[in-house]
Structures are given as structure tokens and as C-alpha cells.
């Protein structure tokens, strides 16, 4: 991959009405950078780092991003090689291929995975959603996974996850009734099913790695 | 070296309050309950009016005892309050609610001027800010019991046994006016009465009847805590549920609890002087209770004591000065007289601990 053109702006957190922006912004501020929270596509163009948070319905999220022109904004941002993208929780799922939740909806397709419910029915031993700190193992402790130990704990709260798919990408895997993708990174676009802004030391380190991407 | 009067530590370093607390878990309370039934029966045949007298303040302890005697044993207690000085609104409301919940009640209001003098002299001579009231809840109660023809009086807890004092009454349900004068009043009654220079006719409620009168009346004084495992927190829960007890909206001065001793403003001063004299205050007392009932560990208690113990009752200072008719400097002089200088040093006009609780 060629040298990426460095954006002049900084970190932008996408506001499309569906995410806990405050926590993510708070974590970024703690690390020492003041992020911009924006719902305007033009702000993405000059950013160097874009975070796509999200909680809730896949379909509503895509619709909301489309309505605001943010979906195009994100695609342009990635296509132009203007910087780095990180999706968190639903944000990661949106970057995947598609989701059958609420009727089939297409995602951005940066990762080949479909987004589906867990493959097992919930029981009192394995209740759904998957809530709490769980351990993650990485194929390579590089990129945004640098300085993270194998088996690091991160905070999860979700009922859907990326379905298994063949990929050579750098992934973090976790286990809850089944093994699934906890995090994934293609070098420019990354995503975490867990919430790094809610994962104490490990999460802050991952966010720091993201912000240090050049 | 401990600083609580009459406390004893065993070879493992446990104080007698804790040892007693452990012993209580193994004690055969059924034997003691039988003793209670016998005691009640003995007095039932004597009294035509009420079965017993229970001193109450509207707070959790007296309310619990009165409620239990009424509901569990079917007795008709007469409840009695000796009005304290500087009574607090919450205390008054709690007393009203207690009476409302269904009790016969008598309030005795000793001449406030007399009580004030005795309180003031108790404060200066003995470092007991409400000595007059402390006396009246014993002597006044005894007087009234005899007057009203009730021969059995149930106090709540035996403070010495429960909280680390002398263990004389650990296995003895009945005590007498000698014990009251010697232990609860710390042998100072004669001295305080003398220094207050009050004429004899004024001190009816602050003096004890003669030995002959006591013998004739066949009065027996007892503590509820002998017959049943004393649990201040349980008392609070029962008083809250059945007698309308309400808590203060914020923590009380010098401690973290809000549900005890809400009846009079002088209590905060009493526990503050206790702190200066002995190095432990109300929070330590309350933490001890919490630890013994299993609600917190000693380590947790230490955190709370460090945070709350020994707070000067600043918010009441003017009230105290007005009440005692003292100047700030005279007041400070009294505190100076009673403070244990090995434990405290004065910084910025206030006594500060030299020690750290650990």
C-alpha cells in the first residue's frame, strides 16, 4: 500500500444519532486529543482518523447514514485514502457485508462477513446478549493490536456478531458459546465488536494505536 | 493502652464487647427467655395498673422494647420520656409517631432551668454535656415508677456489657440504683449537685429515693439486652416498620448513620467530648456495631472512622453557647480541660488527633 495522504484535521467521530458519542469522545480526550463530533460529510474529508460508533438496529443505522450523506462521506474518505477508519460495536457490523436483522440490509462491505445472531439459542448458562468482559486473542499483535497481550479482556455487549468467514485479515477472536470475530483490521479500515472506550487499559491502548496510525 | 473507660482486652487483643458479641451467638437464649417470663409473671401479680415501665425517647431502642413487650408478650407497658434539653424536631416527631402507634405514655419535663444548671455543671465538672438529663433518665424514671405504682422497669441495652465497659451485668438481669450512680453516672452525682448549688426541693427528678422507699416499692430494674440478643440495627428496622421511626435526611454529626440519637442536640457534643477524652467518637461506636453484626469488616470500618469520626459539631456551636450561657473561650476552656493531650494537639484553634486509626 502506498503512502497514505495525511489528513490535516484530526479525529472525527461520526454522529448519526445512534451511538454513545460521549464515551468515545471522552476516551479520545483522555488520551490527549480533542475529537470533533460531526454529522456533516464534508468534515470527514479533511479528517485523518474517523470513528464510527453505533448501537442499535443495523437497518436504521444504514438508513440514517444514507439520509445524512454520511454513508457516501465514509466511502469517499476510505476510497481517497484520506485516513483511517475504526468502527465500534454496531460500527464494526456496518463495515461488514450485510445483515439479515430487520430484513436484509447491505453494509459497507469492507469485510466479507455477514452479521447474524449467535448460532445457539440463549439459555441461562449462555444468556443473550453477550455482556461483560471477555478475552480476545489476536492473529498478529500488530497494527491496532500492538502492545496488547493475547487474551486481553475487552467489554462486549451485543446480540449479533460477525458470522465466520474466510479471511487473511488480522483478526481478534473471542469465545462465547462459539468463536467469533471480536476485532478485525485491514490496515486502513478496522473494527471492534467490543467497546474499547469501555475496556479500561486495553481499550485505551487500542484507541491510542488507532490514533497513532499514519 | 485503651481509652475507653472500663474496657478490657483479652490475651488475643479482643475487647470485651467483641468477646461478649461472640458469646451471644452461642448463648442459650431460651433459658434467659424463661427468666424473663418468670420476671414478668412476678410483677404482673403486683401491678394493677401497668405491667411495666419502659423509658423511651421515640428512638429505635425504647420503641423496640416497648413494641416487643406489647406484641410478643401481650403486656401493657407504660412508656415514659424524660424531656431532654434542646430537643430536635425529628426527635419530637418520632416520639409522637411512636405514641401514635399505640402506647400509653407519660412525659416528664424536669424544670428546664434546673436541668440546664446540672447539664452545665456536668459539662464543666465531668465533661458530660447532658449530665442532668443522664441523671434524670435514671433517677426520674425510678421516682416515677414508684409514684405510678409500677414495679418493673425495662431499660434497653446495658451499655457496659454491649459496648465494652464493666462486665458485671453480663450474667445478671437485675441492677440497682447503686450501679446507676456508680457506673452510669460515674460516681459524680453528689459532686455535680453540690457544685450546682440547687435547693433540695428543686431536684426531685435528679435524686434517688431512699433505700427504704426502694425496698418498700419492690422495684426491679432490668435491661432488655439480658433477655434477648441486643441488635441496634434490628431495633431500627422494627421501629421503622411498626412505630413510625424516621431517619434524618443526612448523616448525623460525627458518624455515618442517620437513624440513631435524633432526639437532642447535646448528643453530638457528648460524642465529641468522648472523642477528645478517649480518641474514639460516634463513628467508631457505630462502626463497632456494624462490624459486630457482620455488616462490614474492620478494614471497612477504619475507612469510615477516618472519614467521619471526631467531627466538631460546628453547626450547633451557637446553640451550645446560648444554652450554657457561656462564651466561646469558656467553652473552649472546658474542652481543653477534658481533652487527652497525649492523643490530641491543638492546631488552628481545634484539637486534632496525633494518631491515625488503623
Amino acid at each position: 500500500m502506498g503512502q497514505l495522504h495525511r489528513g490535516t484535521r484530526g479525529c472525527v467521530i461520526v454522529d448519526y444519532g445512534m451511538g454513545n458519542l460521549w464515551s468515545v469522545a471522552s476516551a479520545i480526550r483522555y488520551l490527549g486529543h480533542t475529537p470533533q463530533i460531526s454529522n456533516k460529510p464534508q468534515d470527514l474529508q479533511t479528517a485523518s482518523h474517523v470513528i464510527l460508533p453505533g448501537v442499535g438496529s443495523f437497518r436504521l443505522a444504514i438508513e440514517s447514514l444514507n439520509e445524512r450523506g454520511l454513508a457516501d462521506g465514509i466511502r469517499d474518505f476510505v476510497d481517497k485514502g484520506n485516513g483511517f477508519l475504526l468502527g465500534i460495536c454496531l460500527g464494526l457490523q456496518l463495515l461488514a457485508a450485510a445483515s439479515p436483522e430487520d430484513g436484509q440490509t447491505a453494509g459497507f462491505g469492507y469485510f466479507p462477513h455477514a452479521v447474524e445472531r449467535f448460532s445457539f439459542p440463549p439459555t441461562s448458562d449462555l444468556p443473550i446478549p453477550h455482556v461483560g468482559y471477555n478475552s480476545v486473542s489476536f492473529s498478529h499483535q500488530t497494527g491496532i493490536f500492538s502492545d496488547l497481550q493475547q487474551g486481553s479482556y475487552f467489554y462486549f455487549v451485543h446480540s449479533y456478531r460477525l458470522a465466520p468467514a474466510l479471511t487473511n485479515l488480522n483478526t481478534g477472536l473471542t469465545h462465547y458459546g462459539e468463536t467469533f470475530v471480536a476485532a478485525i483490521d485491514n490496515g486502513q479500515v478496522a473494527g471492534t465488536q467490543f467497546h474499547p472506550e469501555k475496556s479500561q487499559t486495553n481499550g485505551l491502548r487500542l484507541l491510542k494505536n488507532f490514533l497513532h496510525r499514519r | 493502652m485503651s481509652t475507653r473507660p472500663r474496657i478490657r482486652f483479652d490475651s488475643d487483643g479482643r475487647c470485651n464487647a467483641c468477646v461478649w458479641s461472640e458469646r451471644k451467638k452461642e448463648l442459650d437464649w431460651s433459658t434467659r427467655e424463661r427468666e424473663l417470663e418468670i420476671l414478668i409473671a412476678r410483677h404482673r401479680s403486683r401491678n394493677t395498673s401497668f405491667d411495666c415501665l419502659v423509658p423511651v425517647s421515640g428512638g429505635k431502642d425504647g420503641s423496640y422494647v416497648a413494641h416487643t413487650l406489647k406484641t410478643r408478650y401481650g403486656l401493657r407497658p407504660l412508656t415514659l420520656t424524660i424531656k431532654p434539653a434542646l430537643s430536635l424536631e425529628l426527635g419530637n416527631t418520632n416520639l409522637e409517631r411512636f405514641i401514635e402507634s399505640g402506647f400509653d405514655h407519660v412525659q416528664v419535663s424536669p424544670n428546664p432551668g434546673v436541668m440546664r444548671k446540672l447539664n452545665r455543671h456536668g459539662f464543666t465538672e465531668m465533661g458530660f454535656p447532658y449530665y442532668g438529663w443522664l441523671c434524670a433518665i435514671q433517677s426520674g424514671v425510678v421516682r416515677m415508677a414508684i409514684q405510678l405504682g409500677v414495679s418493673l422497669v425495662f431499660y434497653g441495652e446495658e451499655g457496659e456489657t454491649e459496648y465494652g465497659g464493666t462486665s458485671r451485668l453480663e450474667d445478671n438481669p437485675i441492677f440497682d440504683t447503686q450501679y446507676m450512680k456508680q457506673i452510669y453516672l460515674e460516681g459524680g452525682l453528689e459532686r455535680v449537685l453540690a457544685s450546682a448549688q440547687l435547693p433540695e426541693r428543686c431536684t426531685y427528678f435528679f435524686s434517688f429515693p431512699s433505700d427504704e422507699q426502694l425496698r418498700e416499692s419492690q422495684l426491679e430494674l432490668t435491661h432488655w439486652s439480658y433477655f434477648e440478643n441486643w441488635d441496634p440495627y434490628r431495633n431500627y428496622l422494627v421501629a421503622k416498620e411498626f412505630c413510625g421511626l424516621e431517619e434524618s435526611p443526612s448523616g448525623n454529626s460525627g458518624t455515618f448513620t442517620n437513624f440513631a440519637q435524633n432526639d437532642q442536640a447535646l448528643y453530638a457534643l457528648h460524642t465529641y467530648i468522648m472523642y477528645l477524652k478517649f480518641g474514639f467518637g460516634r463513628a467508631t461506636q457505630d462502626a463497632g456495631i456494624e462490624i459486630r453484626r457482620g455488616a462490614m469488616t474492620r478494614d471497612q470500618g477504619v475507612n469510615l472512622v477516618r472519614l467521619y469520626d471526631g467531627q466538631f459539631p460546628e453547626e450547633n456551636l451557637d446553640t451550645y453557647l446560648n444554652y450554657y450561657e457561656m462564651s466561646q473561650s469558656d467553652f473552649d476552656a472546658v474542652l481543653d480541660r477534658w481533652v487527652n493531650r497525649e492523643l490530641f494537639e491543638k492546631r488552628d484553634g481545634r484539637w486534632q488527633p496525633r494518631f491515625v486509626v488503623s
Binding site: 444468556p127 485505551l204 | 478494614d299
Partner: protein, 270 residues
Amino acid sequence: MVKKRLIFTLLYNNGEFMLSRNFRLQRVGNLEWLKRNYDFSRTAAQIDELVVLNVERNRFSNDDFISHLQKLCDFCFVPITAGGGIRRLEDASALLSNGADKVLVNTMAADCSHKVIEIAKRYGQQCIVLGVDIRKSNGSTRALVDCGSKLVALEISDYLTRLRELPVGEWMITSINRDGTGQGFDSELLELLPPNFERPVILAGGAGKPEHFLDLLRNPKVSGLATAHLHNFVGDGLKQVRDLLLRDGQELPIWDANEIAALKSSVDEI
């Protein structure tokens, strides 16, 4: 596998944090008090989640609550559940965009459960914690709503069966009888759950000391244990709980407050 959770609850009332005893409140201190006596930036390393409930009765606006929520978030990198008096979707939205990761609803589930569905549609059901406050008295067990002031007419098992239909993430069950007493959790409440209950359950009410958490956290029906005892866990109290659980061999994440502090302002200029 996912780990069990040690959860701390803060009860907010009109600018101050409260201690609750059987749902009766005592004022303890404000945010400054909290920072000082809980050293919150270090305390956050001892817990897995924070719950912040607005228990103010008869309030006019949520603005102060929200500003406190934001401030708590500034040094707290564990999930925060916020709730108390959520009546409409807008209330939930306001919390979720200002520091809350999940919202707790209680009265709403009894009075207007369709609004719970609304929130779930918008934000996903995993965002919602359903609070159920239970009191036992005179041989009967019932749920109460509205800060423990109103009795739910339904028999408890019928009520819980009905609640099971609601699309929420997890349940938080609080014992009103044990609340603030330091007598320990009431594990019998777990028996009230519908059979093979498929959602994570947090139990609350009654914790006083570290020991109270010990055996119960191993109970398979329990996903997390919560305490709101602002007095008993002051200072290093929460650390004492976590350390005891770790010594007992229970697997909980171990966070180093120093490492978190070292990450502060550690990012190079972009």
C-alpha cells in the same frame, strides 16, 4: 468465556449522592466528595461496571443528572448504565448520547411497556437493563415501582413472566428488604426467575462487606453483583472486594490504575 461482573451503583439526587436503606435515602456527598473519598479514577479500576440512577423524586429536569453523568464518564472507562425516571424515548436518548452505554428502566416496564419496545427498536435491546425491585412482607412477595412507592398489582411470578416478553438486554433484581442493611444479598430472589431464564441477571441489595460477594458470584444464575453501599465501600473498599474474589480464584479482569493513568495524554499530535 465472559467474566462475572462486580458492579457499583451510585444513587444521584439533586446534586448529591445518596445512601439507601430499604429505599429511604440519606445524603452522603456531592461529586467532589465522591472524587475525594472514592478516588474515582482509581476506583474505576476495581469495578467492571458503573450504574448511576437518578432517584430524585418529583424532578423537573434531567439536566443536572446528565452533566454529572458526563463528568463521571471523564475518568471512568467501564460501561455506565444510567437510569431513574426514564419515561420516554427522548429520556433514554439523552442518556445514551451523554455517557451512558445502557439505560435502566423499571417503572416504564410496568406502566407503559410499549415504550420499552420503542427504545429497543431504536437502540437495540442490549442497551436496556430492566430493573425489578422486590419486597417481601407478611408472607407475600411483590414488585414495586416508582422508587419503591407503588405496588405492582400482579403476583410476582405473573409479573416476571410478563416482563420476560420485553426486549431488553439484562435484568437487575434488587431486594428492597436487604437494601442498605449490610445483611448480604437475598439469593432466594433468583428462585423467582422464570425457568431456564435466558438473559443475564444482576443481583443487588444487601451487600455490606467483601464476603457477601464470594459464593454468590459463582452462582451460575448470576452474571453480576451490584452494590450501592456508598459508606461501606468508601476508600479502598471496592478493591478489598475485588482482591478477595481474585484470591478466591474467581476470574475477573485485573486492571492497573497506574497503567490507566500512564495512558493519559499519551497520544502524539495528529
